[in-house]
Amino acid sequence: MPENSEEKVDSVTGLIDQILEIITFVVPLVKMLIKGGENDASGRIIRVLSADPGLAQMRAEWDDRLDKKFGKDG
């Protein structure tokens, strides 16, 4: 029966999709949790660093760019 065949193909395709999903998504996740995530050298959990120093440098570089294009008094 064509319809049954189509359903079988759909279910196989769905199964393949699910397997691919597991391979591409869950496996790296588990791998990450097993292998990665070591504490820092002092044994502390790593913290999210402040972005402020990078943003301050960005603004300083904008100022330099402005001065180069328009002059310091521009």
Partner: protein, 144 residues
Amino acid sequence: MRMLYALFVFMALTFAGCGPGALELQTRAANQVALAANAVAPVLITSEQVEGDRAIDAAADKAAARAQLAAVEAKWAPIWTAYKALAVAQDQWATALEKGGDTAAAVEALRASFCKLKVLLPLEVKLPPAVSAVVCLEVGHAGK
């Protein structure tokens, strides 16, 4: 499907109990969140800087350039606010893990802050999928 996996992983991380295994898993996840955020921040800064550089290049005079830069900074301000909230939440989670506190509440606070940031991020910024899955269950709800 992906949401189910994310839910599963999140549940495993958060509610698997208070045994050493569960805490170890959360510690690893907390480290990974920090590593991912610390890797993404320079990418975000570069993206903002490029926008500012373009604004300067396109401006006719310094005043116009400064006005454009202010607009760029205003556009990015919510992202940096969300990033700071994420940093605070991750610090609270890490502290709870190190000193013994309410890790479930800390994880939820982190998830909420991460999801806010994720929605705001420019499309070109790609987060490590595993990390976003651990933290953000409401990917579909968040619209990204």
